[in-house]
């Protein structure tokens, strides 16, 4: 399985420790709220699955990252915010 994450600033992605992410699979595009470890190279996370990164306007970055899902969280990551 491969996954995708929408993010503009990859420096905000902490590598090597579990972080909460809102990702989707690339087979049927189902959203998943997970705790996962990510890395920017296969060497850093050999057991990881492919994680494609997209800018928040949809453009796909050429090189994938890697992800190991530690836990699937319940529901979706809901936040407060304005309309728009």
């Amino acid at each position: 399985m491969e996954y995708e994450l929408f993010i503009d600033d990859t420096s905000a992605l902490r590598q090597g420790e579990p972080v909460e992410l809102f990702i989707r699979d690339t087979e049927r595009y189902e959203a998943k709220y997970v705790r996962a470890i990510v890395a920017d190279s296969r060497d850093k996370l050999p057991e990881g699955e492919v994680l494609w990164l997209r800018y928040t306007r949809g453009l796909k970055r050429p090189q994938p990252w890697y992800i190991k899902i530690v836990q699937e969280l319940e529901g979706l990551p809901m936040v407060e915010g304005p309309l728009g």
Binding site: T56, G81, G84
Partner: protein, 474 residues
């Protein structure tokens, strides 16, 4: 000839030569979107995808109203009806009102199948991945969303994009300036969920009516009846007190949660760009789905003009502008589809100086006005429906300084020309291009004479030339 649903409209498209039945299997994941996009960009016939990968028994209809021909068919007019005649007839019908007729569940094809609660699985339907890089599968691209005001009987129909998050949750774009936004903020203030019904694949005039804005207290359902010439048949929802077109393909019922957002988008939009980023937006939980046997999912692929959105806006937004400026001595209003609905061209009899500003102010004061940042005003001798004439006026009569009137105004998060900060807060701008001659320019002195066949030759010579046209060898 009114259509009860999408299916009899599809049959009519087949009869008029505006439909291609695609027998080859097509993937819901981008392929159907790519085909539909190309169809829009070359003005092709609407594709009816008969075999959808992973979804046996399901069909998809691309670009249902992406040409004026198909719009004419949807109105029951001959497909080659001129644009101006389509607009005039739409204007006439849209001033009427016909309330929906409630039918029993047994007479509602949209109730042929049902799943509720834990059974709900939106992946049962071939929701298309429309554009590469979209934020999700947009099941709702040619549809209407039904909601009721919290503290009145006002029911709104509107077409707002909605994508699938997971098997029972969707996300959508709701803007505070939209009617659904006005309703939603009331529910949020009361900390209550807002019941909704998403009607996918209604009859075409119901979809079109949902893109109008008659204002608070009026429901687009009554306009849909007037456009069709007979009441829309509606049926009560399974889980709430909303009514939906009985002949729709799929109906999704649920609630928009108050005060919470989940990341939604991005989506290739009607402006021709993917402008707004993935952002936290309202959450649509799903309680129940009903659908017809062998449902047809319509796919309006928004992007570079001309697609369904541009044709519909050129009619419905134009109608709002027309209603707003009709008290002025106007000769016509046109919202060219190629402008993505961003400009209204208005012809006026220039009976006083600054009438262009007056008319533009009225336009921008209309409900839909804020969606149209540009206004071109031309003299009465310019046919607003003829872009050649409009361009000629624009580049010969518009004074580059005196005729250009820009100013701040309400904006829209999808306007590509706005900065990120302006999009976030809806800080927009308006531009009036006044292509009328100054009122104090005297005929024969300051005012140039138009050098056209009908304006610079004697009438009797024109008639003689026309009478002898074939004799000249043409």
């Amino acid at each position: 000839m009114p259509f009860k649903g999408l299916r009899d409209f599809i049959e009519a498209l087949g009869r008029s030569g505006d439909l291609v039945r695609v027998e080859r299997e097509v993937d819901w994941n981008l392929e159907a979107g790519a085909i539909t996009r190309r169809v829009c960009e070359i003005g092709e016939r609407a594709p009816l995808f008969l075999r959808v990968k992973d979804y046996p028994g399901h069909r998809m209809l691309g670009a249902p109203l992406a040409t004026y021909r198909r719009f004419a068919v949807a109105m029951g007019l001959p497909p080659d009806t001129p644009v101006r005649a389509i607009l005039d007839e739409f204007d006439r019908r849209s001033r009427g009102r016909l309330k929906p007729r409630v039918v029993d569940r047994s007479q509602a094809p949209c109730k042929q199948n049902v799943m509720r609660g834990e059974e709900v699985d939106l992946f049962r339907f071939p929701a298309p991945m429309v554009h590469e890089g979209d934020g999700g599968r947009y099941l709702a691209t040619f549809h209407l969303v039904v909601t009721r005001d919290l503290d009145s009987d006002w029911v709104n129909w509107g077409m707002y994009r909605v994508m699938v998050h997971n098997r029972n949750t969707m996300g959508g774009l709701i803007l505070p300036g939209q009617d659904i936004g006005r309703m939603y903020v009331k529910y949020e203030a009361a900390d209550r969920p807002m019941p909704y019904a998403i009607v996918i694949g209604p009859d075409p005039m119901s979809a079109v009516a949902s893109c109008m804005s008659p204002g608070p207290g009026e429901t687009e359902a009554d306009i849909a009846g007037a456009l069709n010439g007979e009441p829309v048949e509606v049926v009560r929802c399974e889980t709430c007190d909303l009514y939906v077109p009985a002949h729709a393909e799929i109906v999704i019922e649920g609630e928009v949660l108050p005060k919470v957002r989940v990341e939604e988008g991005p989506f290739g939009e009607y402006t021709g760009y993917r402008t707004s980023p993935r952002m936290p937006r309202p959450v649509f939980t799903v309680k129940c789905v009903t659908w017809r046997d062998d449902p047809i999912v319509p796919l309006a692929n928004m992007g570079v003009p001309v697609d369904d959105s541009h044709i519909i806006f050129s009619v419905t937004w134009r109608q709002d502008v027309l209603n707003a400026v009709s008290k002025f001595p106007i000769t016509g209003v046109y919202v060219p589809p190629e402008s993505a609905g961003h400009v209204a061209i208005i012809g006026v009899h220039k009976v006083y100086e600054h009438i262009a500003q007056h008319v533009a102010d009225a336009m921008w004061g209309s409900k839909m006005g804020y969606l149209m940042p540009y206004c071109i005003v031309v003299d009465a001798d310019v046919d607003v429906y003829d872009m050649g004439q409009v361009l000629h006026a624009l580049f010969t009569k518009l004074h580059p300084i005196r005729g250009v009137h820009g100013r701040p105004g309400p904006g829209h998060g999808l306007f590509p020309f706005m900065s990120l900060e302006e999009r976030r807060w809806g800080k927009g701008a308006h531009l009036l291009l006044d292509c009328t001659w100054p009122f104090d320019w005297r005929e024969g002195i300051e005012r140039p004479q138009r050098a056209g066949f009908t304006t610079i030759y004697p009438k009797e010579l024109q008639e003689r030339v026309l009478a002898n046209w074939k004799a000249y060898g043409f």
